[in-house]
C-alpha cells in the first residue's frame, strides 16, 4: 500500500512546466528523498502532494484513494508539512504551546489539549515538555525551533510528513540530531516521510529510496544505496561527483544552471548539459538523445534511469 502517491502529475505555472509528468510512491513507513537543484520542480511536486496546488493533469493519491479537493482539511490530518526555516515558519508572537496547539484547534481534535501538546513535544524530543510551553521562538535555539515545527505536525497524528529541506538552515552539529529524530519517528510511530532536499548526504543518512529530479521529471529512482553508489543517469553521476569529499573521483562540474521549465528541450531534457553527450556519442545513440521522448519512470521499487545510454 502506498501512503501517498503521485500518478502522472503535471503542474504548470503559466508556460512553465514545473512538474512534467511524475509517478512517485511513498510506501507506508518508508522514507523517500526527492533530490534536485533549485528550479527542478521538487518543491512544486511536494506542494502538489500536499494538495497546495492542483495538478493540471494526473492525480494525487492518499492511502490508495484519489485526493478529494473538497475534503482537503481531512486530508491534511493525514499529511503534514514541515517547513524549511523554523525561524520563518513560527509566529514570533506565539508561544511554543500556541504554535503546537493551533492544529488541534483548527481540526477541533477532541481530548485534553495540554496532554496532546505535551505528548507531541516529547515525541519531537523537547523534554520535559512543560518547560517549553510558555517559551517564545526567539528564546529557542535553531534546533529546538525545528523540533517545535515538527511537534506542530505530529500533534495531529499524521501518517505522512513532507519535509522541505528540514535541516538546511540548521547548524552542522545540530543537523544530525534532527535527522536522527526523523528516523526515530519512522521506527516508533510508523510515519512515512518524503524529504525534499538538494543534499545527497541527507538522503544517504536517512532515506530508503531516492528520486532524482531534473527539469520537471524524475530522471533516476531506486534504492538509496544503489542509486548513490552506482548511479546510472549522467545527471546523478554529476551531482554525486560534486558532493565535497576527500579522495573522490574528479568532480564533473556542469556548466550553467538549471534550465528554464518554460522551454524544455525536445528529446532528452538533460542533453544540453549532459557531459556524456558533449563528450561525443555514436551517431545512433546521439540521435536518440536528440529525438527520443523518454517515458515517465515507473513508481515501483526498482532502480530506473531516464537515459538511453547503456
Amino acid at each position: 500500500m502506498s501512503a501517498l502517491a503521485a500518478r502522472g502529475v503535471h503542474v504548470r505555472f503559466g508556460a512553465a512546466r514545473a512538474v512534467d509528468g511524475v509517478d512517485l510512491e511513498i510506501g507506508s513507513g518508508e522514507i523517500v528523498a526527492l533530490v534536485g537543484e533549485s528550479g527542478c520542480g521538487k518543491s512544486s511536486l511536494a506542494r502538489a502532494l500536499l494538495g497546495l496546488v492542483r495538478p493540471v493533469r494526473g492525480t494525487v493519491e492518499c492511502a490508495d484513494r484519489p485526493l478529494d479537493y473538497r475534503r482537503l482539511k481531512e486530508f491534511r490530518r493525514h499529511v503534514q508539512l514541515v517547513l524549511q526555516d523554523p525561524s520563518g515558519s513560527l509566529n514570533p508572537r506565539h508561544t511554543v504551546y500556541e504554535a503546537v496547539a493551533e492544529g488541534l484547534r483548527i481540526h477541533k481534535v477532541p481530548g485534553d489539549e495540554r496532554e496532546l501538546v505535551a505528548a507531541a513535544l516529547s515525541k519531537a524530543g523537547l523534554r520535559p515538555p512543560e518547560r517549553f510551553f510558555l517559551r517564545y521562538p526567539h528564546e529557542l535555539s535553531g534546533g529546538q525551533r525545528q523540533r517545535v515545527v515538527i511537534a506542530g505536525a505530529l500533534v495531529l497524528e499524521p501518517d505522512v510528513l513532507v519535509a522541505d529541506e528540514p535541516v538546511s538552515s540548521l547548524d552542522a552539529s545540530v543537523r544530525g540530531e534532527i535527522l536522527a529524530l526523523l528516523l526515530r519517528l519512522r521506527t516508533e510511530l510508523g510515519l512515512s516521510l518524503l524529504v525534499v532536499t538538494h543534499d545527497l548526504g541527507l538522503a544517504w543518512n536517512i532515506a530508503d529510496r531516492v528520486a532524482v529530479m531534473y527539469l520537471g521529471r524524475i530522471v533516476e529512482t531506486g534504492d538509496t544505496a544503489r542509486v548513490l553508489t552506482s548511479p546510472r543517469h549522467p545527471y546523478t553521476k554529476a551531482l554525486l561527483s560534486v558532493v565535497p569529499e576527500i579522495a573522490r573521483q574528479d568532480p564533473i562540474v556542469l556548466k550553467g544552471e538549471a534550465p528554464d521549465p518554460s522551454r524544455i528541450p525536445a528529446g532528452c531534457r538533460f542533453r544540453p548539459r549532459c557531459p556524456a553527450y558533449a563528450a561525443g556519442l555514436p551517431a545512433e545513440l546521439a540521435e536518440r538523445c536528440e529525438k527520443e521522448t523518454l517515458p515517465v519512470l515507473p513508481a515501483d521499487r526498482g532502480h530506473h534511469a531516464a537515459c538511453v545510454l547503456p
Binding site: 537543484e37 543518512n205 558532493v243
Partner: protein, 319 residues
C-alpha cells in the same frame, strides 16, 4: 611572508560578550585558509576585524597585521586605501548584498572610480567587463540588474566586486551557503582558479567542513571564539584530533560510506551563547569523550605533530 597575520586577536562586544578570544592565524599569497565553525563561534567577527568593520562599542585586543602593518593602528585615510585595494570581503548572502536599483556594472565600477579617481568612465567599463569575464559571466551582463541574475550568478558578481581593485587578500564569508551543490562546485572552482592565477591569499569561511576540506590548504576549526583545531585541510577533515572537528566532519556524511547509512551523526545540545560560556573547555557539555578534568580549566592549543594543533586534553590519543 604571510599577507595576513592575526596575533592573539580578541574581540569583545558591548555587554561583555567575548566573540573572539585569542585567535592566531596567518595566510600567505597563493594560500587558501579555511575557517570552520557554527553560528556564534566568532568566524564572521574575525572577518570584520580584519578590515575594521566592527561596531565602535567592540573592544579589540591583539593585532591584525596586513602585509606587516597593524590594521587597528592605521589612520582612517590609510584604512580607506587598504580596504578593497589590499584586502576585500565577499560578504555572506549574495542575494541581498547587491543594490537592487543599480546595474551590476555600476556597482562593480564604484570602488574602482573611488580608489583610482583618475580612471575614465570608459576604462572603468572595460575593467568591469574584464572582471565579469574573469568570474565566468559575459561582459554584457554589466547592464543587468541583480534580479535578472540567478543566485549563482549574483555570487559571481560579488566575487567580481571583491576583485575590482586587485586586492591580494580576499575573505569569503560563507560564499556558497544557500547555493545548490552544482552551483557551489562552480563557485569553489572559480575561487580556486583565482588563487592559482592571481596568486591571491584566500580566507574561506564556512560551517561546512567538507567544503573546506576539498578547497583549502589549511583549516582552522573554531568553537566559542577560539581555534580548537588547526592543520592541513584534508587531515583535519579525515582524521580530526578535536572531538568537535570530528562532529563537524561527521555532520556531512560521506555518501557511499556504510558507517553513515541510517546513522546521522550529530551532537546533543547547541553551540553556547558567547556571553555565557561554560567553565573549563567550552565544548565539554556537548563532548562525547569529556572527563572530569575537562570542566576545570580551558585547554590551550597543543602541538600534536605534523603541523597540527588541537585544544583538547585527549588530542594526543590516537583516534
Amino acid at each position: 611572508m604571510s599577507l595576513l597575520e592575526l596575533r592573539d586577536l580578541s574581540v569583545t562586544y558591548a555587554g561583555d560578550v567575548p566573540a573572539v578570544r585569542g585567535v592566531s592565524l596567518s595566510v600567505a599569497p597563493g594560500e587558501v585558509l579555511g575557517v570552520a565553525g557554527e553560528s556564534g563561534c566568532g568566524k564572521s567577527t574575525i572577518t570584520n576585524a580584519v578590515l575594521r568593520l566592527l561596531p565602535k562599542s567592540a573592544t579589540v585586543g591583539g593585532s591584525v597585521l596586513l602585509d606587516g602593518e597593524d590594521v587597528h593602528g592605521m589612520s582612517f585615510g590609510r584604512l580607506r586605501a587598504v580596504r578593497w585595494a589590499t584586502a576585500s570581503i565577499v560578504f555572506q548572502g549574495a542575494l541581498h548584498s547587491l543594490n537592487a536599483v543599480r546595474t551590476i556594472g555600476r556597482q562593480i565600477a564604484e570602488p574602482i572610480l573611488l580608489h583610482e579617481p583618475k580612471t575614465s568612465r570608459k576604462a572603468a567599463d572595460l575593467r568591469v567587463g574584464e572582471l565579469l569575464e574573469q568570474v565566468g559571466l559575459p561582459a554584457r551582463r554589466a547592464r543587468d540588474y541583480p534580479h535578472q541574475l540567478s543566485g549563482g550568478q549574483r555570487q559571481r558578481v560579488m566575487i567580481a566586486l571583491a576583485l575590482a581593485c586587485r586586492p591580494r587578500l580576499v575573505i569569503a564569508d560563507e560564499p556558497t551557503t544557500a547555493l545548490d551543490v552544482m552551483v557551489q562546485a562552480q563557485v569553489l572552482q572559480l575561487l580556486s582558479g583565482l588563487v592559482k592565477d592571481l596568486g591571491l591569499a584566500l580566507v574561506l569561511i564556512s560551517h561546512d567542513l567538507s567544503v573546506l576540506g576539498t578547497t583549502c590548504d589549511r583549516v582552522a576549526v573554531m568553537y566559542a571564539g577560539k581555534v580548537v583545531e588547526e592543520g592541513p585541510a584534508s587531515v583535519v577533515f579525515d582524521d580530526s584530533r578535536h572531538p568537535y572537528s570530528g562532529a563537524l566532519a561527521g555532520a556531512f556524511p560521506r555518501v557511499g560510506d556504510p558507517r553513515f547509512r541510517y546513522a546521522p551523526a550529530g551532537l546533543a545540545g547547541d553551540p553556547p551563547y558567547p556571553g555565557d560560556l561554560p567553565a573549563g573547555c567550552p565544548f565539554h557539555p556537548r563532548c562525547p569523550v569529556a572527563f572530569d578534568r575537562c570542566s576545570e580549566a580551558e585547554v590551550e592549543l597543543l602541538d600534536v605533530g605534523a603541523g597540527r594543533r588541537a585544544a583538547c586534553l585527549r588530542a594526543g590519543e590516537a583516534s
